[in-house]
Symmetry: C2
Subunit: 686 residues, 2 copies
């Protein structure tokens, strides 16, 4: 189906407007790329783009918006097969796969054999198991999944019902799903793909419950891929997002598994049922892994928000609406209400990506210390990682939602690039610790640390505890003027000072944490009843850490750097946006620390002032994030600005419109439904 | 595909837990149904359910979660055809169709011929046009759409580019799309269905631009439904939601339309090009229509949030997680952090539906006055309707999102009922005035009214202006103690008093509006620069009105009514939730009115206390809303509580799992992709 005419474009072409915006850049985009993404990531991005662009028939994602669930799965398999070929041919390494996935920007069916099955084997196989399971898994000769969650049981892993019972007669384990609710559920790569599963099961030997352990179960035949006897396995069906991967269910009817298959790094059961527990994993090592996983989520949330703001900033720069008579309409990004919603998101994107560099550096320091047996940095890292996973995922998901909203009606089209995208990133607020539950982890560390500092118990000093200690100030080290540095300063002075902003962010979390600590330690309030206040405390702490880490990453730049000025503006917008998001927190400071009403209200005005400074650099700033068109997959956010041409072309490609197959569909709709309605000869009582 | 075993249910069955919750009801559910839904709506709901249940092959929505876009459209057409048959057979009336749609709960392809095409014809046809267009449209002999929005032009209708130029030579109009951006876009019922369109076009006669007027254009042949020459028409492709309706695009290459087709109620062009403008529509009548449309959206948002909270409350009541050792796990609704997120939404649902009765009563009063030529109530009605459309749609969409989040991982499954649902209600925040733009309409009325009251200009008195006038208090009528009734009261006293809560909500909007007015009237701040503060002012005003109207609807009950107590609790939770959502607003009261820190912080604690009172009635309260299972279409929210059985059954019905067709799909995936990966004989460099 084609447009009947060669239509003129609008008077100021969207691509021309975008080019004009680009001319305003007052910093080096390539320097910014290195600062924000890092050279490694840039190199990997460019290599991945080459592979993707070389094989559009496999890796072009443009057609995905038209696809049914089954078609999405099939496209995912096609991509997986090609990835494995490229790996086997040595044209791609395992480390590079995530960079390719990052651009394709949807989950693919083998993600969990890579992301969970293999890492579990790497951690928990003994030497024979490495040969039997890990090596073939690394070569995709077996495909695995990690089966923990059950349909009736999520976070509380003690409640899992699946059992692995040692059967002395045949020297095997009997793996069983005793109830409906014990069915394994949500397991990625299981629904259609996996040949094997690591199954988390309650281990029972000689009637004794030993604990929850992982056991490898082959679930499908290596000959024809059919489920083995006693195994019920399938796909859990359509989801909000993630429809290109086969999350599955798994149910065992007393199936027998060789004793060898129990992962034996930390436990073994000898023939006859003698259980030997090796020294268990040091839970502190597990904590280290969780920090790493959550640090990765936090960084990824920055990269995903970068995609959202790239689309929103480019489109609102070229979309015009209202304005002066006899003038071209005004770009909607010139309206304060649009700026106010999208530009702080741009600043936060920079803050999230900037702070991630410092976060990984801190994490690495803590790992280096752990290698020397020193776990002193771990607790704060864990508390920070819980807080940042929570904060960044909420900021990203609802940030992308705001990006969609500022795009107006066209944001609702799949061709905006913001809808399947929103759906695919959404579960980040749920997995690796639900965001509302994670707040407790952070708040608990803060309350305990403050209590220890007040009572003189030993405390490891770090960014968090040093800040708390500063304000406890016992014995008095600092004067009130030093402690409450904002006293007597105007809102403009506060906004202009990195130190004052950090001081306020620091005191805010200390003050809120103090209030919570009083309720818990003095009034005996339970943690369950503290869960609501914990949200605010965790948020305030995360925002302090983000601002602190971001400022440190900026401080690494040489003074003459072209990107330093705009980064400072982005820092200020982020910090002001944190402080003003719930100003009641500022009003509730104690008397010595009190902010005046005019200071507090003034910060709102300062935020708007600094946002206007970002406006003129907005397009260069999203360009500098270097999110490629392949990842954007968006008519509205295209680099070249040919918004409406591409948008219309994508509509013309809609299956119902297509020549041939679309004609058939429309003919069917007309003959079966529309025609009979129009031409019915029935006597109508209408 | 079947489970291999007959599995036992979990120890306390979810349906048993739900039954136990129901036993706690301390009010009459049927009395509540009448109070909230009204007898008319109940009757219509029951009739619609009968029709739906009689023909599951057409009206059962269970299979929609597995469908591709084209399959959804086809199902929509099947339903439309049956609806028209039922209408023609006299088994259904046009007025009843919306009640059926409300339960099916997705848009269907003829929605806009009913919702926009016919109403426009009813308003703007002359007598001959009634015969030619309206009557066949009412009988579905022609199917129409309303083509206003263009791909490059939305809210600013003056910017629309489509032209209708009078051609004297043939006595016709030439309708043309001069540019790419003038292509009509988003038009519902256009993509595949419509035979005719009302096209909003810039009317040009003898070189003179007359204005924007509607003209009827036939776009498809009545014989074979093919697009007529010069008409490019098609579907705009996949969207976030709304995939069961054919939003379309439309482009004209200088097509000729009879002069007769210009809708002639307000303008006519005589042969030769003499333009006669009838008295234009009184813009105040248009305002009245907008009030009605927005009042309907507001009420509908209440009904949609009712669906969300029904699912969330039922599921969190039966989902268990963690708890005491050797006890069944604890229902997650027993955790404060879950209560805090979902139970205020339940209260707000009641507030939204309760206040709607009063809102429609007020609207009817204003219409009765207008019929007598008295427009005095209209301005406030318009300001309220803008505010309530904005407030209720935001509350509903993000409320449903919260409902999804409290359902945990299973909320992400389509079978939760919360995902296609969220997508379909989402555009309510954009259409009929984007929510961020609408705030200005309300704030503008408030600022102007306050200015008039202060300067002594004439003002129509109503709920809004009376409240402003009270606090202007010039000449002094009330003492400070009467004005600021909360002074000296504890948070508990405030929470326990409907009057004090309403006083606070009233003063809050007056105070915020005063601050905005000072900036605009004294400091000359522009409305564009006031757009951010306008959001808060509009929200505060809407929350006052909702609480006021809700309290009035409750006041209609007799004192002995069984539902009065729980409704008062719901009123209190709503009001406290409004007041505490941004406590900084309370801190910023002027000195005479000031609240103390302990009052403000105390309200947070009161809210939590009152939420706990709702907990025990939560399941009866959602039952009383009477959202039928057919509308919920949710495993998690089913009335009978058979959550996991239904959830697993729906997974087994996933196309990839099905016997036969599913086997084929899996075989293809295995033979083409998975098998070659597992069994490749290539030399691997991995």
């Amino acid at each position: 189906m084609k447009f009947s005419t060669q239509l003129e474009p609008a008077k100021i072409h969207t691509s021309e407007t975008l080019q004009n915006e680009r001319k305003k850049a007052n910093f080096s985009l390539s320097e910014m790329d290195v600062f924000i993404n890092g050279q490694d990531r840039i190199d990997n991005r460019e290599k991945a783009l080459k592979i993707i662009r070389a094989e559009p028939e496999i890796f072009d994602q443009r057609d995905t918006y038209y696809m049914s669930r089954t078609e999405k799965l099939e496209k995912g398999y096609k991509q997986e097969k090609r990835l494995v070929e490229l790996l086997r041919e040595g044209k791609l390494t395992s480390d590079e796969v995530p960079h390719l996935s990052n651009i394709l920007d949807w989950p693919t069916p083998f993600d969990l054999t890579r992301g969970m099955f293999i890492p579990t084997l790497q951690q928990q196989c003994n030497e024979e198991q490495v040969e039997a399971f890990l090596k073939p898994a690394l070569d995709y000769r077996i495909i695995g999944c990690y089966a923990q969650t059950e349909v009736g049981h999520g976070s509380n892993i003690r409640g899992l019902e699946t059992t692995a019972t040692y059967a002395e007669d045949t020297d095997e384990f009997i793996v069983n799903s005793p109830t409906l609710t014990s069915t394994k559920w949500w397991i990625g790569t299981l629904g259609v793909s996996a040949t094997h599963a690591v199954v988390m099961a309650q281990l029972i030997v000689k009637g004794e419950h030993i604990g929850l352990y992982p056991i490898i179960v082959q679930i499908r035949s290596m000959d024809d891929h059919k489920p083995l006897p006693g195994v019920s396995v399938g796909d859990i069906g359509p989801k909000m997002g993630y429809n290109s991967i086969d999350n599955g269910y798994l149910n065992f009817n007393n199936i027998r598994v060789p004793r060898f298959n129990l992962l034996q790094k930390y436990i073994s059961v000898a023939k006859g049922g003698v259980v030997s527990k090796m020294k268990n994993i040091d839970p502190r090592v597990t904590y280290g892994t969780m920090v790493y996983v959550r640090a990765n989520i936090s960084r990824n949330m920055g990269h995903q928000l970068a995609k959202g703001v790239t689309i929103a900033v480019r489109y609102t720069s070229v979309r015009r609406q209202f304005g002066e008579p006899n003038q071209p309409e005004t770009p909607v990004l010139d309206y304060p209400i649009v700026q106010y919603r999208v530009l702080p998101l741009l600043a936060k994107t920079y803050a999230m990506l900037g702070m991630s560099h410092e976060f990984f550096a801190q994490y690495q320091q803590s790992q280096d210390l752990i290698a020397k047996g020193d776990f002193s940095k771990l607790k704060e890292m864990h508390a920070i990682s819980c807080g940042l996973k929570r904060w960044t995922s909420t900021a990203c998901i609802y940030g992308v939602d705001t990006c969609r909203h500022v795009c107006g009606g066209h944001g609702f089209s799949q061709f905006s690039g913001l809808n399947d995208f929103f759906a695919n990133i959404y579960p980040n607020i749920i997995y690796e610790g639900d965001n509302f539950v994670l707040a407790k982890q952070t708040a608990s560390y803060l309350v305990k640390s403050a209590f220890a500092l007040v009572t003189g118990a030993p405390v490891e000093l770090n960014d968090t505890t040093n800040t708390i200690k500063k304000y406890i100030n016992t014995p008095a080290v600092l004067s009130e003027a030093e402690l409450f540095s904002w006293t007597g300063k105007s809102a403009a002075q506060i906004a202009a000072s990195e130190k004052l902003l950090l001081d306020l962010l620091g005191f805010r979390f200390v003050s809120m944490n103090h209030n919570l600590g009083v309720k818990i330690n003095r009034k005996g309030q339970s943690w369950d009843d503290s869960s609501i206040e914990s949200q605010g405390v965790a948020t305030a702490h995360s925002e302090y850490i983000i601002a602190l880490y971001f400022s440190r990453h900026i401080a690494k730049l040489r003074e003459s750097s072209s990107i330093k000025n705009i980064l400072r503006v982005l820092f200020t917008v982020s910090a002001l946006s944190f402080l003003t998001s719930n100003s009641a927190e500022l009003y509730s400071f104690n008397k010595a620390a009190a902010m005046t009403k005019s200071q507090i209200v003034g910060l709102d005005d300062e935020l708007i002032k600094y946002i206007k400074l970002v406006r003129h650099q907005a397009v260069p700033l999203v360009d500098a994030l270097h999110v490629p068109d392949e990842k954007l997959n968006s008519s509205l956010g295209r680099y070249d600005g040919n918004v409406y041409e591409d948008y219309i072309q994508r509509a013309l490609d809609e299956p119902v419109n297509r020549d041939g197959s679309g004609d058939e569909i429309r003919k069917r709709f007309y003959e079966k439904y529309i025609g009979p309605v129009l031409h019915s000869t029935e006597n109508s009582k209408l």
